[in-house]
């Protein structure tokens, strides 16, 4: 086991591990290139620096004179894109989703996948031509965001690559000069708990930039008062916790990202060579890259350096969460701090528990007999569990398969001596399973050199590994891994099918069979997604075939609409009964219809889509409700089509009352009347509307005589009431006659008018006439009670024939004696008790007592 390439840095070790021999198509020195590499062992993008072109160094190299190339970690070409070297390139980088974002000075932006294919074609950030002051100076791709600085010292970000809308973060006064460099700090580690931008001031010091807040300037580092000279470069650890500042004169200051503490300050003493990169190696050390020398700056001022063995100029380091990738023309290495468990186990002459267990296992395998003793001693010191656990940890930190195996076997051996239940066996299984995955993806053909920790990180952050494998089209591997981890595989199959579609070898039905056969084993596959892709490739028939296999109805609808299969879409939407589907179809049909009707040669087709919607009961009602909300004309046409004259009339009435201009209203009423006239099932609607129009004419006439404008658009009864109140009895009678108001009704109205004008005598004469009023006595009694005219009310109550009513009402107006008398007369003796309880009048009680004793109760 190799501890040879371990380098000590204080009391820890760093090691460089060889991963791959690079398979670049042509091994040009890396220093000729702009390079961007994705985290988590991701792809490497390269573009030739224009300077190198002019210098003519790669003289006859067509590939790099024309293309941007994308390679994997082992240098295998994954994609190439024709490059326009006349455009002013500013920067590029990979997002967390492994989208390559490339930015040009004029605001043009390119989004590519790992194969160099355009993901979308976003518009330029500031339009064309861009304003001069918005020339882009520098960029950073941060997580899934783009942050950039423009010539007028404004910082922007783009948080969403589908819209690519730049939003201002803040600006720095132009007079301060252009920032030397900048870096974004994520909210969970930043000074302000928001997204902070740190940028170096050309005159020394740091500016802290936050959204819609004033820019803070630091000439000294807060809490420590360390003077900050000109900042040349800033590096943030991948986890975002730590910050390294490269100051003028090769001084590196390492601090916590929120400024709470300075961790170390080292003079890198490299002034003679240009520092090319300042990179974090995990979270424990910062590396300065210059020429063929990489200096490692650890905590407590510890330093070390490691040499790179290379033939051609240029090194590129990629920070990872727990180390860094070092890429040269020849090879790809991984540098990391040696895992503590690995160090414990493998350090020469180590007497740690795991080292002992490892030795014990070795001697056991060699049958040397000394193993029992070691195990016993570990057991006695209660170190066996620790030994097993450390060995597992060490195994997970190993890249070499043989070493992994050795360590795992030793751990398994130790485990057998542990009492049952102490050690969770799942843990061992889990580690073996994950190592199996790692060993596979680290192989040259996949070239995803993840560490164990990185693997766990990608797993807990949305199964990133699977997504990346799909991006690279390693479907089989992705399915194997998913099954091992018990993840869903349906989306992998869909992804596979979508890629398969590009294969021109098969005709539509062969392709459909091929896909269905493969996907048969997997339920809940979204065939719609595949069909949509087929459609994108112009294979409509295939899309329809695929769609027939889709089990979920509502997923079919949008695609059928997209294919303009409106009738099918409508049927499916109705079948699903999802209102969203139905409305979606209706909307599309309406849109199409509107566009068609705007054409000059438009002739409404027989049985067009709109008519078809109207033929289906459920869709019909929803169409009407949609039309009501968006398009009046559409609604009217639909009513006409359906011969729904009543609804059309109703809608017109509604509109009539929304207008508060009389002329408008009357006109609309007339239209409504005509519509109602075609509704022969119920003549009342037409008649009533006609009557109302006549009424309004009459009312307008009456304004002159009454000077009462409020009379307009009252009901007939209210009109009569108003007239009576104005003393226009004759006009009232006329209206009554014209509109067939019965005498009985008139009697009510007169009573109401008299009550509201406190004309009690009038009311009295009304019900004390010889002839009983046509409306009976109750209305009189009720209204008099309500108005508190109790004396008169009593008289009216006594005229009402129902005894129950009399008794209740008399009690209510507290005419207890009368109530008692009525009760006696009607022989309702039960009521007497009730009355006796309520009254305080002794005369009434006496009366009741007398009656009760008289009747023997």
């Amino acid at each position: 086991m190799a501890t040879l390439n371990w380098t000590d840095l204080g009391d820890v070790f760093y090691r460089q591990m060889h991963l791959y021999d690079m398979k670049w198509e042509q091994d040009l020195a890396l220093e000729y290139f702009h390079i961007a590499a994705a985290k988590f062992g991701g792809p490497i993008a390269r573009i030739m620096k224009p300077k190198s072109l002019i210098l003519g160094i790669p003289k006859n190299n067509q590939l790099f004179r024309e293309y941007l190339t994308i390679n994997d970690s082992a240098g295998k070409l994954k994609g190439k894109v024709i490059w326009d070297f006349n455009k002013k390139f500013v920067g590029m980088g990979w997002t967390n989703d492994e989208i390559l974002v490339i930015i040009f000075a004029d605001g043009e932006i390119k989004l590519l996948d790992i194969h160099g294919e355009n993901i979308s074609f976003p518009p330029p950030l500031f339009g064309t031509p861009p304003p001069k002051e918005k020339e882009i100076i520098s960029v950073e791709i941060f997580e899934n965001m783009l942050i950039f600085l423009t010539a007028d010292n404004y910082f922007y970000y783009v948080r969403n690559f589908t819209s690519c809308k730049p939003e201002v973060i803040n600006n720095i006064d132009k007079r301060r000069g252009r920032p030397t460099c900048f870096k974004a700090i994520p909210p969970n580690h930043s000074f302000s708990s928001n997204l902070d931008i740190l940028c170096g001031d050309p005159n020394g010091g740091l500016n802290l930039i936050q959204e819609s807040k004033e820019v803070k300037f630091f000439s000294k580092i807060p809490f420590t008062n360390e003077e900050i000279s000109r900042v040349e470069n800033i590096a943030l650890s991948v986890t975002g916790e730590y910050l390294a500042l490269l100051l003028e004169g090769s001084v590196v200051v390492v601090l916590e990202a929120n400024f709470s503490r300075i961790l170390t300050r080292i003079d890198a003493r490299l002034a003679l060579t240009e520092i090319k990169q300042l990179v974090w190696c995990g979270t424990d050390a910062v590396c300065v890259v210059c020429g063929d020398y990489i200096g490692i700056l650890g905590p407590d001022n510890t330093t070390a350096h490691m040499d790179i063995d290379k033939k051609k100029e240029g090194v590129f380091c990629v920070p990872e969460i727990d180390g860094m990738r070092v890429i040269t023309t020849e090879k790809c290495e991984f540098w990391e701090k040696v895992d503590e468990a690995l160090q414990m186990t493998l350090s020469i002459g180590s007497l740690s528990a795991p080292a002992l267990l490892l030795t014990a296992n070795e001697s056991y395998l060699e049958n040397s007999g000394s193993s029992g003793e070691s195990i016993r001693s570990l057991q006695q010191n209660e170190q066996l569990l620790e030994a097993v656990e450390k060995l597992l940890q060490a195994a997970s930190a190993e890249f070499d398969v043989d070493s992994q195996e050795k360590l795992l076997k030793a751990a398994a051996f130790g485990k057998t001596f542990l009492p049952p239940g102490i050690f969770e066996s799942n843990k061992l299984v889990e580690i073996v399973r994950n190592l199996k995955v790692l060993n596979n993806i680290r192989k040259d053909w996949v070239a995803r050199p993840l560490t164990y920790r990185q693997l766990i990180y990608t797993r807990t952050n949305g199964e990133l590994l699977i997504k990346r494998l799909l991006d690279s089209r390693y479907h089989f591997l992705a399915i194997q891994i998913s099954k091992l981890w018990k993840l869903r595989v349906d989306e992998i199959y869909v992804h596979w099918a979508c890629v398969k579609l590009t294969d021109q070898k098969y005709n539509d039905s062969q392709m459909c069979d091929l896909i269905c056969e493969k996907l048969n084993s997997c339920k809940s596959v979204k065939y719609t997604d595949i069909a949509r892709k087929a459609l994108d490739y112009g294979r409509r028939e295939l899309a329809i075939k695929l769609l027939e296999n889709e089990p979920a109805i509502s997923r079919k609808v949008p695609l059928l609409l997209y294919m303009k299969e409106y009738e099918r879409a409508l049927d499916k939407a109705i079948e699903s009964s999802d209102p969203d589907d139905i409305y979606l179809v209706i909307m599309r049909i309406h849109e199409e219809d509107t566009i068609a009707s705007e054409r000059p040669d438009y002739v409404p087709a027989e049985n067009n889509s709109v008519q078809k919607v109207l033929q289906k009961p459920i869709a019909r009602e929803m169409f009407l409700s949609y039309a009501r909300q968006v398009d009046e004309k559409l609604l009217r046409n639909a009513f006409k089509e359906l011969k729904r004259f009543q609804d059309a009339g109703n809608f017109t009435i509604e509109k009539a009352y929304k207008s508060n201009l009389l002329k408008n209203r009357v006109e609309l009423l007339a239209i409504a009347k005509d519509l109602y006239s075609k509704y022969d099932k119920d003549p009342l609607y037409e008649a009533a509307t006609k009557e109302h129009i006549t009424l309004i004419t009459q009312q307008k006439r009456l304004i002159k005589e009454t000077q009462d404008r409020g009379i307009v658009d009252c009901s007939i009864c209210d009109t009569i009431i108003r007239l009576l109140k104005h003393g226009q009895d004759q006009n009232a009678e006329k209206i009554a006659k014209q509109f067939n108001i019965s005498d009985k009704k008139m009697c009510y109205l007169k009573l109401r008018v008299k009550a509201s004008t406190n004309d009690w005598a009038g009311i009295e004469s009304m019900f004390k006439q010889k002839k009983a009023p046509s409306i009976g006595f109750r209305p009189f009694a009720n209204i008099l009670v309500q108005k508190g005219q109790l004396e008169l009310a009593e008289a009216a109550i006594l005229k009402v024939p129902e005894v129950d009513y009399q008794i209740t009402m008399l009690q209510f107006i507290e005419s207890y004696l009368k109530a008692a008398e009525v009760a006696v007369k009607a022989k309702m003796f039960d009521v007497l008790n009730e009355i006796a309880q309520k009254t305080t009048d002794s005369a009434v009680r006496d009366y009741i007592d007398t009656v009760m004793s008289g009747s023997g109760r």
């Binding site: 109703n650 009435i653 009533a688």
Partner: protein, 586 residues
């Protein structure tokens, strides 16, 4: 109620609450919250204003057509997925863009986001302005431990007038959400057109469900029974007589809260007083479902008890006695204000209702309609109400009740009353009449009258019901047993496979899951889902069924919304502003 059932459905509230907090916390700094007016009430049941403030909400405003002034960079909209809302919101965004105001918009639709809404934003060219568009899956809100409501006040109108399918879909999703949270419901059955549609959609959703409900390890609810309001439109037209139902009739309960004129409470505040009516008020919990006639003596008794407790203050001797007394005193003190409030409310309601002869006269008319008395007297009485210009809502309610019980009004009377209404209350009510006819509430008589058969078969009338100590559900309506509830009782006595049940509108439908039985409680839990609304008196009567010593199952209630006789008619009425600009009259 035991501990388990008190917290039973609170997790629904908790999930929604967490979701809203998550939405708020996702955005740093202050944010402006704009809410769909129809969601303000429901959301107030989920999360308190003070909590919104704590999570950075600077201001809350209702989404209206006209511009809103946003005072923060981030604007969060929460709305129902309707075309109208999308148009309002698009309008706001466009206006702000015109004024070059930079905002970040976030849109959350409740209970789900729809493609249609997104399309509208796209066609209005504002889609690009939204940072996030997502949903809040809030379907059922627990109003009480045994009462869940979707709080969709327009749902009955949408069902009977607009014939909009959305509501069926939402109900199906609501039930699915219950199954996700509380395990599969073995039997789901229902009667009526709406129930059938809901179950049909639910079946499709269950089949296409990515999180399979059978994987939920528990099964809290054994069965669900869906009742379509269209089967029983009689009950909501009747006057209820339980305390909570009467509070609702008189004050209108909205989201567990009533607003009361301070004079009613003998309070000298100059603003309306809000009273929260939930089981947290233990006095209310005790009396909410009682028939009104027993209320006053009970409250007075309570008041006397409290009074006596206060008086005992000086009689305590030993320390032990004193500490015991303090407990009693604290309890009494807590209850005192509750009792006071309820006494005031009860007095007000008494004066408005049972002590008011005019209320009773109307109640008599209602009673004769239910009893199936001869028409002439009833018609005469209604005519008199119209003649005297009684509130149109009351008149329509009685006419509808007559029409629904008699399968329509005779042609002659139908026309007579419609004319009477138009001539008395105004021509614009023609739209309401049309709506009522479409809803089947007020129509021309057709076919045979089934009412007397129903009354007999379901024993809908129980005049000798004991209103003080209930012995039948009829106590809630003073002698009338709600048809909806008799139907449910009937399901467990004779089943629904008989001619009387078949004579009610709509078919029977059911979904039975064939999964192994999960552990069931001794008393199975049955969910009654009222599609189109439930009244507080029905709720009270169901609680009475739960309390019966011979109860074999426990009912919990779910509904689209709560209704009373007023809101039921209002929902299908057309609100028209009859205003004329004076200058337009020449």
């Amino acid at each position: 109620m035991d501990g388990e059932s008190t917290a039973r459905f609170q997790s629904l509230r908790e999930i929604a609450r967490q979701r809203i907090l998550e939405i708020l916390d996702m955005i740093q700094g202050q944010k402006f919250l704009a809410i769909d007016p129809s969601l303000v009430g429901p959301l107030s049941l989920i999360i308190e204003m003070s909590v919104l403030k704590e999570h950075g909400v600077s201001k809350v405003s209702q989404i209206v057509e006209k511009e809103i002034e946003f005072d923060c960079r981030d604007v969060i909209y929460i709305c129902r997925p309707t075309i109208q809302m999308m148009q309002f919101i698009s309008g706001h965004v466009k206006k702000c863009n015109e004024h070059r105001e930079e905002h970040r918009y976030h849109l959350y639709m409740c209970p789900r986001s729809t493609t249609v809404c997104e399309k509208i934003l796209i066609s209005n060219n504002v889609m690009i302005d939204f940072d996030s568009i997502d949903q809040i899956n809030l379907f059922l809100i627990p109003l009480e431990n045994d009462l869940l409501s979707m709080q969709m006040d327009k749902s009955f109108r949408e069902i009977v007038l607009e014939r909009d399918f959305s509501i069926y879909h939402y109900i199906a999703r609501a039930i699915l959400q219950l199954e996700h949270n509380y395990g599969p419901i073995q039997i789901k059955e229902g009667k009526g057109f709406a129930s059938g549609q809901v179950l049909r959609i639910l079946k499709m959703l269950e089949e296409d469900d990515p999180e399979h409900i059978n994987e939920v390890p528990i099964s809290v609810i054994q069965s669900a029974v869906l009742i379509d309001r269209e089967i029983d439109m009689i009950t909501p037209l009747c006057t209820p007589l339980t305390y909570e139902a009467l509070i609702d009739e008189v004050f209108g309960i909205a989201n567990n809260i009533i607003k009361v004129n301070p004079r009613v409470l003998e309070n000298d505040s100059d603003r309306q007083i809000q009273i929260s009516l939930t089981s947290a008020d233990n006095i209310f919990q005790e009396i909410r479902d009682l028939n009104f006639c027993v209320l006053k003596p009970l409250l007075i008794e309570k008041l006397e008890y409290i009074d006596n407790t206060y008086k005992e203050k000086d009689q305590q001797k030993s320390v032990e006695e004193l500490s015991k007394y303090m407990k009693k005193f604290k309890q009494a003190h807590k209850e005192a204000s509750f009792v006071q409030n309820h006494l005031h409310l009860a007095i007000h309601i008494t004066n408005e209702t049972v002590k008011n002869p005019f209320f009773n006269q109307n109640l008599d008319i209602e009673h004769s309609i239910i009893m199936g008395d001869s028409d002439s007297q009833i018609l005469e009485n209604i005519e008199r109400l119209i003649g005297m210009g009684e509130d149109i809502n009351t008149v329509l309610r009685l006419l509808c009740l007559l029409s629904v019980t008699q399968n329509g009004l005779k042609n002659k009377f139908f026309d007579f009353f419609r004319k009477e209404i138009l001539q008395t209350y105004g021509f614009e009510h023609i739209l309401t009449l049309s709506n009522l006819e479409k809803a089947g509430l007020l129509k021309k008589q057709e076919g045979k009258n089934n009412w007397s058969n129903l009354v007999k078969a379901f024993k809908l009338i129980k005049e000798d019901v004991n209103q003080r100590i209930p012995d039948d559900i009829a106590y809630a309506y003073a002698g009338y047993a709600p048809l909806s509830l008799r139907l449910i009782e009937n399901l467990y006595i004779s089943g629904w496979n008989n001619d009387v049940v078949r004579s009610l509108p709509g078919d029977y439908s059911a979904i039975r899951l064939n999964t192994e039985d999960k552990k069931q409680a001794d008393k199975p839990l049955v969910l009654l889902f009222f599609v189109g609304g439930v009244t507080f008196a029905e709720v009270a009567a169901i609680r009475y069924l739960n309390r019966r010593p011979d109860a074999k199952r426990e009912f919990v209630i779910a509904t689209t919304h709560l209704i009373n006789s007023k809101s039921f008619i209002d929902a299908v009425s057309e609100k028209i502003q009859n205003e004329i600009e004076r200058s337009s009259i020449e």
